[in-house]
């Protein structure tokens, strides 16, 4: 199960956060900060998995992240999720955003947090991805370079 979805920029500013378990606001911010510290010091060409340790709910959990231009997309998941699957999911999520905003960039997320109904978007992306039969995706795609068609999602507007 996905425990949390965090999006923050290269400076650790949260751009979108969704916790699927309740934490107090302070704890949430602390988790975001710590996650940022863990993720930000990693090189570009290392693997995308991090053992999250005690960040969210115990050692069963992993952080799976991708770094696009100025944004980090971090999913915290437990062991019932396929690591590679989540990586693909992040990809689809980003592509969905890209489709919604036409060439998504950090500013879109900042200014349209509500418009995209965006906190719901990850969940929708999850179901959308699960609907389609994914071919193995090329990894480390650039954000502007979309090679897969995003399936028909329920409209966000």
């Amino acid at each position: 199960m996905i425990k949390a979805i965090l999006i923050f920029n290269n400076h650790g500013k949260p751009r979108l956060s969704k916790f699927y378990e309740h934490y107090s606001e302070d704890t949430e911010q602390q988790i975001i900060r710590e996650t940022f510290h863990l993720v930000s010091k990693r090189d570009e060409n290392v693997c995308n998995f991090l053992e999250g340790g005690m960040l969210i709910g115990g050692s069963d959990n992993k952080l799976i992240y991708r770094h696009y231009a100025t944004l980090y997309f971090v999913f915290c998941v437990d062991s019932s999720e396929s690591e590679l699957g989540i990586l693909d999911l992040i990809q689809v999520f980003v592509e969905t955003l890209d489709k919604c905003f036409e060439n998504v960039c950090e500013l879109d997320l900042i200014f349209h947090v509500d418009k995209a109904g965006i906190a719901g978007a990850p969940a929708r992306a999850v179901s959308a991805v699960k609907n389609m039969n994914l071919p193995e995706m090329p990894r480390n795609i650039n954000i502007g370079d979309i090679s897969i068609k995003v399936p028909n999602l329920p409209s966000f507007k």
Binding site: H22, C47, E83, F111, K130, N131
Partner: protein, 1153 residues
């Protein structure tokens, strides 16, 4: 008014929207907090306005601020307001905010129940969707209980979009309200075969998530999943299913055998790496579960390892990582197959990615053997030197220690080498693991007797060079090793080459800069050293040298006496005084060395970490009881002043065994050994040392094995572990040459001398004998220690509650609650077995289950009325069955001779006695060919003027019923509560639609003024019948009958309170006689309890007192007696007309049956 609206909308134009807020925050980078606090003030103002658009905008901004870490819980109520807006755009904002900041302790959540229910049944699928999404984030046990049924209905919604969400949210409902799992599970199972792949995948996800935590309950689904696995082409679903199988196989090895083939096929055929990886993982799990039974799966193992090798060799770091991860799983059971890839793994140690290096390190743990340990550790030591980040270096350090110390130092053949490694590790800069190295040093020095001399020499060097370790404040962690060094030098000072030099090193002024606990050890061990030095000096020269040593102590110790650390201070002052006393004796030429040494005589034995916990409390020992009466004069002659140093000899540690006889002792010891042998957490005893304990109490008798000095013990300066590697090689070669000659003898020696722990090694390993026989002392454990290792399961784990058997057929009582605690009647199902009622295993509320059962029976009765003969026969049979145990026959008056002491208090009559007759509170309201309405009327305890009418609507036709409107013509006394703004004659919309054959319940609230008289209200239900081609408007008239009974509320009452009430004299009396009542007394009572909301206060034989209370607080007391089919009821109440009406109603109830 109009002006106000205009003004409001103009104001709105100047309000900030979210974009403005974000822009503002970005423009105020320096004083962000201040800016936001002014924004929050604005938002507070906006929330006070009536305009819902303004509120929604404010809530939207709050949601953003919440994400930035500001507490917005104060606006919870406003969020609920926005949630209940009818406009979707606002509603969505409300639900989004709620999902972000509501949680179980948010109290306004209870206000949302009805709103959410309304949204769930909204005709607009997006309303439903947003409610489901929001609910999934903040569902509470209450919400889960109240809404479970609605959500379950949505699982069969026409739109896959809703079905999918409903299925997913059921998981959250199960977590919060475990009772819902069994009733909902059949439908969830259906969804596994839903035509829509999204819904199917959602169902797979939910079941996988459930099964992962309690796999054994889902084994029966294996065939279904197996079918899905072979038929589905959706990789996401496949991955989930395959992961699920990974969890199931350990429980059912037969499943594993079946899985191997399709999984292998998938591995060969799939192009998706993620699927391949999960397949490999599950095959590994299967092989692990089979590892004991089936030997012939080496092909599969080979395939897995080979595929993993491909992953590891891939340039994609992610695959490399996962490959190593999976490899470590194989390692546990099939270390051999992994060991052949040692090259690859060692290569990964050089990877630039830290995560990968760490994974590779994990794997190394399982790859060492006696042969390659030195080589691998050497390689790791090189990495330690190269590593730049401290975390990775620390990780390396702990791994080195882990690898070396694993399974009781199984792979170490040369402990001198190990000590040198430890000493080399102390030269690491800035490590956090000083204490780890220290504890290893202590452990080895204490437990490996043969190594002590060498260890002491090394430690003395360390102490001499302490400045290297402490010089830099950054290296603080490492100074912990000085703790070990000082202790080892002190405790085993007899091995010291030059104790005087070490003593001086330990008393250097620089020591005072060390942490307190280390200083304390220094001081204490300086005293031990002093004792040793004294002995050697007194022995061979005249007193002056010894006196000089004493003087040295007296000179240096005051430094420690001034220490801020209390323990250092205390120990230093004690020892200082002692030394001063010794000096005095020395000046009188008294020989003191022996006595000083006696202070520290005796061997310290290692004690297992859990030993203290495991000391069993002997039988008959009450730890809380006084051993002696609390003494006024305490005798302290038994107290040993030295106990603080834990110097007791082994013998002293178990005086309590004296009472256990020898035989018992031997038996327990045997049991303990057995247990230890099976328990990986115990460090196992080599038999020889065990014997030492039991036979020889004195330290002198411990046979320390002679060391073959093929390795020089003294290494000048700090040791270089490398030279041991070389020496070891030479030694092994030499040994191999000698081996043939000695072989026979050695074998014998091995068996007797080295004990169990070495036996596990393979034959080739056995050839390498340790450099010297190592006599590893066991850690002490108390005799007959309790077998434990408690389950460390988290008691708060929500999944524990979901450990529910799902294969049992559903009992009738297991239904999801509908709206109230009274469930709807399910559409008639043909021929239900009456006996299933007995199996209602996990029912949370006994009472409600009872009610359900009763209703069930009621239905049966209705059905059977048509064939009365048959029914009677059946009933008799059934009753006889149940009565076999009790040997009673059913006649209503049998109870009077059943024994005089039967007495039931407080509550409804117990069910066990005889089967209760079926009863239902729901009475028919109205019925036509389209719809049937049954209703139940209940008073509202919280509000003395309210009555709640629960109406179950049942669709009897084949068409869809919608737009139902419920309306009642109000009387002066009773009025239907309508929402604010509705006219007094407007109808209430029923908040759901009815598909064919479905029933659902709605509740309506009425206000009543006087409750002393029964009331009748006329009402109408209008609805639209929708066929495929046409829709017609229909109506149904009904009469609502508010009996006085419905104003009564079942209230328990204790007999003493009841007696007081009767004595008070405020109550008016009335009585009634019922003739010809042909039913057992307890049935009669149950009927009164059930239909008229009374509770039994006390029952004696055929006489019972009962109590109830009206919603306006009237007390109603009954005394019911029965004799020969006549029941007399004496009643008292403070309101005579109410009482009269209630009694009439009771009479009517019994006249009907």
């Amino acid at each position: 008014m109009a002006l106000k609206i205009v003004k409001g909308s103009i104001d709105r134009m100047f309000d900030k929207n979210l974009q403005d807020l974000v822009r503002g925050i970005r423009n105020h980078k320096e004083d962000e907090a201040k800016y936001i606090s002014t924004c929050i003030d604005e938002i507070k103002q906006e929330l006070k306005q009536d305009n819902i658009a303004v509120k929604a905008n404010a809530v939207c901004k709050l949601t953003y601020l919440q994400m930035l870490g500001y507490d917005v819980s104060w606006a919870a109520f406003n969020i609920v307001e926005v949630m209940s807006s009818s406009k979707f755009t606002y509603k969505r904002i409300g639900y989004l905010a709620a999902s972000q900041c509501f949680h179980e302790s948010t109290d306004v959540i209870m206000l949302t129940t009805n709103q959410i229910r309304k949204d769930l049944s909204s005709p607009n699928q997006y309303d439903t969707g947003v409610a489901l999404t929001g609910l999934s984030c903040f569902v509470t046990p209450d919400l889960a209980r109240d809404l479970a049924n609605d959500i379950m209905t949505l699982m069969s919604h026409t739109k896959p979009y809703i079905r999918k969400k409903a299925v997913l949210i059921m998981y959250k409902v199960f977590l919060k309200y475990p009772e819902s799992l069994r009733p909902a599970f059949p439908r969830l199972k259906e969804k596994l075969e839903d035509p829509d792949p999204g819904v199917q995948s959602a169902a797979v996800n939910v079941i996988c998530e459930l099964a992962r935590r309690n796999p054994k309950n889902y084994l029966s689904l294996a065939p279904l999943f197996f079918k899905l696995m072979t038929s589905s082409t959706n990789n996401w679903v496949l991955i989930k299913i395959i992961k699920l199988f990974g969890a199931l196989t350990p429980l059912e090895p037969r499943l594993g055998k079946k899985l191997i083939e399709p999984l292998t096929n998938l591995i060969h055929s799939t192009s998706a790496m993620s699927l391949l990886y999960e397949c490999v993982n599950t095959v590994i799990a299967v092989l692990i579960s089979l590892s004991s039974g089936m030997p012939n799966h080496s092909a599969s193992i080979q395939l897995c390892v080979q595929k993993l090798r491909i992953l590891i060799e891939d340039s994609d770091q992610n695959l490399k990582y996962l490959g190593l991860l999976a490899m470590s799983k194989i390692l546990k059971t099939h270390p051999k197959s992994v060991q052949s890839h040692k090259d690859l793994i060692l290569q990964c140690l050089d990877d630039k990615d830290e995560s990968i290096r760490l994974r590779a390190l994990d794997l190394l743990y399982g790859m060492v053997s006696k042969k390659n340990l030195m080589e691998i550790v050497k390689k790791l030591m090189l990495h330690v030197d190269k590593a730049e980040g401290t975390t990775y270096r620390d990780e390396l350090l702990t791994k080195i220690i882990d690898i070396c110390s694993q399974s009781n130092y199984q792979y170490i053949t040369n402990f001198e080498w190990y000590i040198s490694i430890l000493v080399e590790l102390t030269r690491l800069e800035g490590t956090r693991h000083g204490h780890l190295i220290a504890s290893q040093m202590l452990d080895v020095a204490i437990r490996v007797k043969a190594i002590r001399a060498f260890a002491v020499a090394q430690m003395a060097t360390l102490l001499d060079n302490a400045h290297l370790l402490t010089g830099n404040t950054q290296r603080n962690g490492i100074c912990e090793v000085l703790y070990a060094a000082a202790w080892i030098c002190g405790e085993f000072s007899e091995h010291l080459e030059n104790p005087m030099q070490t003593l001086e090193a330990m008393l250097r002024p620089k020591v005072a800069t060390l942490p307190g606990h280390i200083q304390a050890v220094y001081v204490q061990n300086a005293a031990k050293l002093f004792a040793t030095v004294l002995r050697s000096q007194e022995g061979n020269t005249e007193g002056t040298a010894a006196q000089e040593t004493s003087q040295l102590m007296i000179d240096r110790l005051p430094l420690f006496v001034q220490s801020a650390n209390l323990e250092v201070q205390e120990r230093a002052s004690c020892i200082l005084q002692l030394v001063k006393y010794i000096q005095k004796l020395q000046q009188k030429d008294v020989e003191v060395a022996e006595e000083v040494n006696a202070l520290f005589a005796g061997e310290l034995n290692p004690v297992a970490p859990k030993a203290q916990k495991k000391v069993p409390v002997p039988e008959g020992l009450d730890l809380d009881a006084w051993i002696n009466e609390p003494p006024s004069e305490s005798e302290s002659e038994d107290e040993k002043p030295k106990a603080i140093f834990a110097k007791e000899e082994p013998k002293h540690s178990r005086p309590r065994h004296t009472e256990v006889d020898e035989k018992e002792l031997a038996r327990r010891r045997e049991a303990r050994k057995q247990e230890q042998a099976n328990n990986p957490f115990y460090i196992k005893a080599s038999p020889s040392s065990q014997k030492v304990y039991q036979d020889a109490p004195g330290v002198e008798h411990i046979p320390v094995v002679q060391i073959d000095l093929s390795v020089p013990l003294k290494v000048p300066g700090l040791p270089m572990s490398d030279q041991y590697v070389k020496l070891e090689e030479e030694r092994r070669q030499k040994e191999r040459a000698e081996k043939k000659k000695k072989e026979k003898k050695k074998r014998k020696e091995k068996r007797s001398g080295r004990g169990k722990k070495h036996d596990s090694g393979p034959e080739s390993e056995e050839d390498i004998t340790p450099a010297h026989m190592v006599d590893i002392v066991t850690e002490e454990m108390p005799e007959n220690a309790l077998p434990s290792d408690d389950d460390d399961k988290d008691p708060n784990d929500p999944h524990k509650a979901l450990d529910i058997d799902l294969d049992k057929p559903l009992a009738d009582s297991e239904k999801l609650p509908v709206r109230s605690h009274r469930p709807t009647e399910a559409p008639k199902s043909p021929a239900e077995d009456g006996d299933t009622e007995s199996a209602a295993p996990q029912e949370p509320k006994k009472k409600s289950s009872k009610e359900k059962k009763e209703k069930k029976k009621d239905k049966e009765k209705d059905r059977k009325k048509s064939s009365k003969h048959k029914k009677k026969k059946q009933k008799k049979e059934k009753e006889e069955k149940e009565k076999k145990k009790k040997k009673k026959h059913h006649h209503h008056h049998h109870h009077s001779d059943g024994g005089g002491d039967e007495s039931v208090q407080n509550g409804t009559v117990e069910e066990e006695e005889e089967p209760l007759p079926p009863m239902s509170n729901y009475c028919l309201l109205a019925e036509n060919s389209y719809i049937k309405m049954v209703c139940d009327i209940q008073g509202n305890l919280q509000d003395g003027s309210q009555v709640v009418v629960s109406v179950i609507f049942e669709n009897k036709c084949d068409s869809f019923l919608k737009s139902m409107e419920f309306n009642v013509l109000d009387s002066l006394n009773s009025k239907l509560q309508r929402p604010e703004g509705a006219g007094p004659h407007d109808g209430l919309t029923v908040p759901f639609q009815l598909p064919p054959g479905v029933s659902n319940e709605a509740r309506f609230v009425f206000t009543v003024q006087s409750i002393v008289m029964p009331q009748k209200l006329k009402g109408t239900l209008t609805f639209i019948v929708k066929n495929e081609d046409s829709s017609t408007h229909e109506k149904l008239d009904f009469k609502l009958h508010f009996t006085c009974t419905s104003y009564l509320i079942t209230t328990p009452c204790y007999s003493d309170a009841f007696a007081k009430l009767l004595e008070s004299g405020d109550l008016k009396c009335s009585s009634v006689r019922l003739e010809g009542v042909n039913m057992p007394f307890h049935h009669l009572l149950a009927r009164i309890c059930f239909h008229h909301h009374f509770s039994v206060v006390e029952r004696i034989d055929s006489c019972a007192s009962m109590y109830s209370r009206s919603i306006q607080g009237h007390h109603v007391c009954l005394l019911v007696k029965t004799a020969d089919q006549t029941v007399s009821i004496d009643a008292k109440c403070d309101e005579p007309s109410l009482l009269g009406n209630v009694l009439d109603e009771i009479k009517q109830t019994f006249s009907q049956c």
